[in-house]
């Protein structure tokens, strides 16, 4: 049974009482919440994910209303993992993005069985295309276009999980986080796309999430072999440019983008050298022409 099959009343009941346990890529999440807007967006964004009947969950998280007198005139939402609160409370309207950011934090800070890199990753013809980049570099917009129209499989729009033992990329397809102008850009580029209601005035501006393609969710237990590492950079109006960069340079930039490189130490060093050795290394500047960008990325996996 998937999340979309569950009646809203049952969804609310589970989330209030024992916790709603669902699959999100490689992880089982147990969510406790009484905030209807969180469950509504969750059901919309995780529609194709399976409900889980196992007692064990990788992460037990809560999104609750803030307490105290302040919450009477400024309602707040609070994220917690096993009782610990890693973030300051946010306005109640930000509760669903807060859950998403919290789940990213859970993976990046706790899953040291992987080398976790701040990068989107998609796959086609059996080869993974890794797109590392800072917020605003356009990696989410690009991965939305690639998976929505280009026939690529979404592995993640935020966290690339490298298995140090095999060198493969593990999938964790969750909603794609779109920000500001890219929300309307993707809405017009992918008219059939399912987006969550935009949330305004967050620390990242206006945020909306895009439901991952059903095919990507169904294939989430399939690993991918790294094929290319591309550093995207969105510059409004810029001419499309794909240029080769050195592997040593790529290694250092990947290490900078890894969340747990220092924790894994030599294991991460070896995993990253193997990854870079096997991959085409490119820098990609694009100015908003998504069709041309898709053609460019296609050429990388055909090489």
């Amino acid at each position: 049974m998937t999340l979309v099959d569950l009646p809203s009343s049952e969804l609310l009941s589970r989330a209030r009482e024992y916790g709603l346990v669902f699959q999100a890529g490689r992880f089982n999440i147990r969510l406790h919440t009484r905030i209807p807007a969180v469950l509504k967006s969750l059901q919309l964004m995780y529609a194709d994910q399976n409900l889980v009947d196992e007692p064990f969950a990788d992460f037990t998280v809560r999104v609750t209303r803030g307490s105290g007198i302040r919450c009477c005139y400024h309602p707040q939402s609070v994220f917690s993992l096993n009782g610990a609160r890693p973030f300051a409370p946010l306005p109640l309207a930000h509760a669903f993005p807060l859950l998403e950011w919290g789940l990213n934090w859970c993976v990046s800070q706790h899953c040291h069985q992987y080398l976790v890199i701040h990068a989107a990753v998609v796959e086609k013809h059996g080869r993974a295309l890794i797109l590392p980049g800072l917020p605003g570099s356009g990696k989410s917009t690009l991965s939305a276009a690639l998976t929505g129209r280009g026939g690529w499989r979404l592995l993640s729009d935020e966290l690339t999980l490298i298995d140090p033992k095999t060198g493969c990329v593990h999938a964790n397809p969750r909603p794609i986080s779109l920000k500001n102008a890219s929300i309307e850009r993707i809405r017009s580029y992918l008219p059939q796309a399912v987006l969550s209601p935009p949330v305004h005035d967050t620390v990242k501006g206006t945020v909306a999430h895009l439901r991952p393609p059903r095919e990507s969710v169904l294939a989430q237990t399939n690993d991918a072999i790294p094929g290319a590492i591309v550093f995207p950079r969105f510059e409004k109006g810029a001419k499309l440019q794909l240029s080769e960069i050195g592997q040593g340079d790529t290694f250092m930039r990947m290490a900078d983008n890894a969340f747990n490189y220092s924790i894994l130490g030599a294991v991460a060093f070896r995993a990253l050298t193997t990854l870079v050795e096997k991959s085409l290394c490119r820098e990609f500047v694009y100015g908003g022409d998504l069709d041309s960008a898709l053609e460019c990325m296609e050429s990388l996996v055909q090489q």
Partner: protein, 91 residues
């Protein structure tokens, strides 16, 4: 003066065409060594790994970088930088 790989912890390295990446497992730091630094560290790690005196270093590095023609002062500065980063130590 001579230098060797540090005894405090293992140093891992990997040569890419555009540079050498070196991991200091003791400090858990990573360094990217292009050009002359790559050649100097490469000479230090070439078997028999261990003690090299500066004239030997200079000759080997000059052979590795025939176009750059680094001076002894250039190489000494690189060796001292590598020592500060914990990648080599004085023997």
């Amino acid at each position: 003066m001579s230098w060797r790989l540090p005894e405090s912890g293992p140093i891992l390295w990997h040569a890419f065409p555009d540079g050498l990446v070196v991991f200091n497992a003791h400090r858990k730091t990573t360094h990217y060594l292009p050009d002359a630094a790559k050649a100097v560290f490469g000479v230090a790690c070439t078997p028999p790994t261990g003690v090299h005196c500066l004239p030997e270093f200079h000759q080997a590095v000059t052979e590795a970088l025939p176009d750059a023609k680094p001076t002894k002062a250039d190489i000494l500065a690189i060796l001292e930088a590598l020592e500060r980063q914990g990648l080599l130590e004085k023997a």
